[in-house]
Amino acid sequence: MSEVPQNLRYTSDHEWVRLEDDGSVVVGITDHAQEALGELVYVEAPEAGQEYGKGDACVVVESVKAASDVYAPISGECSESNGALADEPERVNQSPYEDGWLVRLIPSDPAEMEELMDADAYAQFLIDSDG
């Protein structure tokens, strides 16, 4: 069973979102997602200043198997991305919720956070979608 921290919000595409004290949000992919993707070998993260609507592809993660898009869970502007992943994409596998974070966004509509799943709902979603 994959790890689902209580303090995060989740999407059905297996992204997680963490609201920071300064109002920004940090985005990554869940433990379930990194497990399904396999070992990551490349992460293409956006430049600061890029703007995304909710659901826009904002990061590309490539594993030993395939390339996958990561979608912006809420709309906003990228303020930074995780530069350490350029040389160590495996951090996403090793620490999907901490060292393996992908991008930080400045939300354009913080209320969109409320539309995301909480940890219990996402854990249930994983159970329900386990084919």
């Binding site: 490349y42 490539e62 030993v64």
Partner: protein, 348 residues
């Protein structure tokens, strides 16, 4: 686990990348029992295989040797790539791919109707590949005493058989090692003994990145029934001499050769960031080509690919990765062999 040609097979046993490195630096073991083993015997066995295959089994001057090559259709397209071993004077063992099993067997039986030769699949055979710079010293002591001396002395593509255990000094990784065909019980015992002796269990994922680095073709990706060996980097496996050997597809290949081969099969190394994948467009000064296999090279730590490009293409090129053109270079399609990186890593 993934479905591969109807077989449930592990992509990895934990870490595909660790498994890859184990084979380059030490020893890995692969369960490749999905491969289809076919025995060919009878008075016409040799004549039949000389008709069936584009390479010439007459090169196997004595039993105990193997030969890589292609089985073609009448149009010169590749039905499959395979290794043929000569077991005795009138008996051969052919190892073909799993995904092509049904088509291969149908074609082999079809061509066999004109010959006094039997074509017998060995569906119960277990096949293990033990590969890596330490594979030989690890594997030899695990084999029956009756085989050890002979197996330790095998040349590349040499083979030996005793007590129902067949061993060939072949592989699909670019490293030294053996491919071993044996019964189920003996296979399970050998697997456990090899792992106990330090061989890392390796899945399909590492098998693919290892063969990609070694520049070895994968059927279905780098070639198929619409591609001849001449456009798949496999022209060297076509035995044109003797000129009167009428192998299946010969006429088509001769026509193709006479008309001029417009494309060639090359390696690509990506200088930009990103990962090249099967099917991506290659832009060269001589026109467009296509990536046939691509991925991340754990040994070189960047993306490499195999590609079919215009015959005049050389030097720098670009690969279209997810709607962006990325800089790459055309290189010889052998990136890593016996643990050594063979391509220039830096462009300038």
């Amino acid at each position: 686990m993934v479905d591969f040609g109807g077989w449930d097979m592990p992509l990895h046993y934990g870490s595909q990348i660790d498994e890859h490195h184990a084979v380059r630096s030490d020893t890995g073991i692969f369960d490749v029992s999905h491969m289809t083993v076919v025995d060919v015997a009878g008075p016409d066995a040799s004549a039949y295989l000389r008709r069936l295959l584009a390479n010439d089994v007459a090169k196997l001057a004595a039993p105990g040797k193997g030969l890589y090559g292609c089985m073609l259709n009448d149009s010169g397209g590749i039905v499959d790539d395979l290794i043929t071993y000569r077991l005795t004077d009138g008996a051969y063992r052919v190892v073909v791919n799993a995904a092509t099993r049904a088509a291969d067997l149908a074609w082999m039986n079809d061509v066999a109707t004109a010959f006094d030769a039997s074509v017998t699949e060995r569906p119960d055979a277990i096949m293990l590949a033990i590969q890596g710079p330490r594979a030989v010293e690890l594997a030899v002591p695990l084999l029956p005493p009756s085989l050890r001396q002979e197996v330790a002395a095998l040349e590349p593509f040499g083979c030996a058989e005793a007590d129902g255990i067949f061993v060939a000094r072949t592989g699909y990784t670019g490293e030294d090692g053996f491919e071993i065909i044996l019964g189920e019980d003996a296979g399970l015992r050998l697997w456990d003994a090899a792992v106990e002796a330090g061989a890392a269990p390796c899945g399909l994922g590492a098998r693919d990145t290892l063969r990609l680095e070694a520049g070895l073709c994968l059927y279905g990706q780098d070639m198929d029934t619409t591609k001849s060996p001449l456009v798949s980097g496999l022209g060297w496996t076509v035995a044109w001499e003797p000129s009167d050997r009428d192998f299946v597809g010969r006429g088509a290949l001769e026509g193709e050769k006479k008309a001029g081969i417009p494309v060639k099969w090359v390696g690509l190394i990506l200088d930009d960031r990103g990962i090249m994948r099967h099917g991506q467009r290659v832009v060269t000064s001589a026109g467009d080509g296509i990536v046939t296999s691509g991925g991340f090279s754990p040994t070189i730590q960047r993306s490499i690919a195999l590609a079919r490009v215009p015959g005049d293409a050389a030097g720098v090129c670009q690969v279209e990765i997810r709607n962006a053109l990325r800089d790459a270079r055309i290189v010889r399609p052998t990136f890593v062999r016996n643990g050594e990186i063979l391509v220039e890593q830096d462009s300038d």
